[in-house]
């Protein structure tokens, strides 16, 4: 009989002890806020292109945190998708958009064709286009995220998305991969 009591008391004591331990751990290692959204957002390419269906990268990060698919970010490509999957704790999925070769592109305005309508300026999510009404516009390529959003509104279709060219500073050292652009020997002035 006393054995049962001892067992009960022992278990109660143990339960109390572990309960206290858990409570203490919960206090001690409490995580402030929801860092998941921040972490997810940090993985997104910040093009603010809206191709995911959300108005910007932060809203999409929030949507992922709330259970949306992780494969809606074409600018990030497969690499970003995998990181998102890893962070969100879900399985990687193929991208929704048909995956083109992930070459970074930026917008260029063919300036002699620009009519100065300012529509692209309104469309640019990062204010990377300079210009005003009736005056020629131009893209600050350093700020351009290549989101494509300015191409559609242009009434005269004078915006091109051109791949960023490599220069000596951005060269990736892929000796075998680069198409070596050798300027013709007979280049003369």
């Amino acid at each position: 009989m006393s054995g049962i009591f001892i067992a009960i008391i022992l278990l109660t004591v143990l339960a109390l002890f572990f309960g206290l331990l858990l409570g203490f751990a919960a206090e001690k290692f409490k995580v402030e806020g929801d860092p998941l959204v921040d972490q997810l957002e940090a993985l997104l390419p910040q093009t603010q292109c809206g191709q995911c269906g959300y108005p910007g990268c932060r809203p999409y990060a929030e949507a992922i945190a709330n259970g949306d698919k992780i494969n809606k970010c074409p600018p990030g490509g497969a690499a970003t998708m995998e990181k998102l999957a890893d962070m969100a704790g879900v399985d990687p999925e193929p991208l929704t958009a048909t995956e083109e070769v992930q070459i970074k592109k930026v917008a260029y305005i063919r300036e002699d064709e620009c009519i100065g309508c300012t529509k692209c300026i309104q469309a640019c999510p990062v204010d990377a286009i300079l210009g005003t009404g009736k005056l020629m516009h131009t893209v600050i390529t350093d700020y351009c995220t290549g989101c494509d959003l300015c191409v559609e509104p242009c009434p005269v279709d004078c915006i091109d998305m051109l791949p960023v060219t490599q220069n000596i500073k951005t060269w990736d050292w892929k000796l075998n991969a680069i198409p070596v652009k050798t300027i013709d020997e007979d280049v003369k002035c």
Binding site: L175, N176, V180, T182
Partner: protein, 350 residues
Amino acid sequence: MAFKIASSPHLSRRFQTSTLMQRVLLCALPGVAVQCYFFGWGTIIQLLLAISVALFCEASVLTLRKRPVLATLKDNSALLTALFIGIAVPPLAPWWLTFLGAMFAIIIVKHLYGGLGHNIFNPAMAAYVMLLISFPVQMTSWVAPSVIAGQPLDILASLQMIFIGGSQLEISAYKMGFDGIAMATPLDTLKTDLAMGLTSTESLTKSIFSDGYGVGWFWVNMAYLAGGLAMIKMKLIRWHISTGLLGALYICASIGFILNPDTHAGPLFHLFSGATMLAAFFIATDPVTAATSVRGRLLFGALIGVLVYVIRTYGGYPDAYAFAILLANLCAPFIDHYMKPRTYGHRSRS
């Protein structure tokens, strides 16, 4: 004019894996020769058997994996694995033992893990352990050294023994030492004797220990030691693993011997019996499965040394290199992770 493009450096030492393996093989030869001298034709037959099976398996798997066969065979790694299997199995063990071992080593331990450079475990040792725990009887009946057995078996008798006569009954008969061809290894003998209550000194008076370390085994070890030192001299291997191993074994054995000389063999006995030198210079130093940094390698070797001593002294098996090396293999990534060298310009590893 456009020219050929290549990445720097444009110079190379021109010392390839195949050459390295080849040199290691050469350095192992003196030990193999001494072993053959003491244990007869059986060793050579097992070697040839292991080598042919290993090369065949390697070629088959490479074909299946659609890898270049000849080019890869030329790296001599399968040859080296086969060599270690051939000298590790008892010289008169039945042929299928070696066959299984070589196959297991090449197919399962090496190629299923991704081939050369990707295996976690030393193929030869993994195969040895597999054989040892699957066929303990066959694997522990070692041949008596020719000096004790008197007339060794000639080549035909050895062949017959290996390929035809290896029935269970006979083997166990040999094990019992009825006809004096087969007997336990010195370490096994010592272990049995200690278990029977003899002191180590008493045990070491037996004929098998006539030169203090076990007949034949001392010279085998000396030969491997010589080969190992040559390898270090030729920079085929670095000294760290071997030193760590022998040092740790010596220290452990010394401590045990000082504490209780009656139940422990001396440090030199440990160093020169069994497969100590072979393991220390040829097997533990297999780079694929060892730790890589300098300190990591010292630790890796020491770990093997300690494990060997512990298993030899307290474990159920007489010699323990295969187990010790496999266990250390398991720890290698862990050791590497915590034994990163301090990079130039970094004050501490934080």
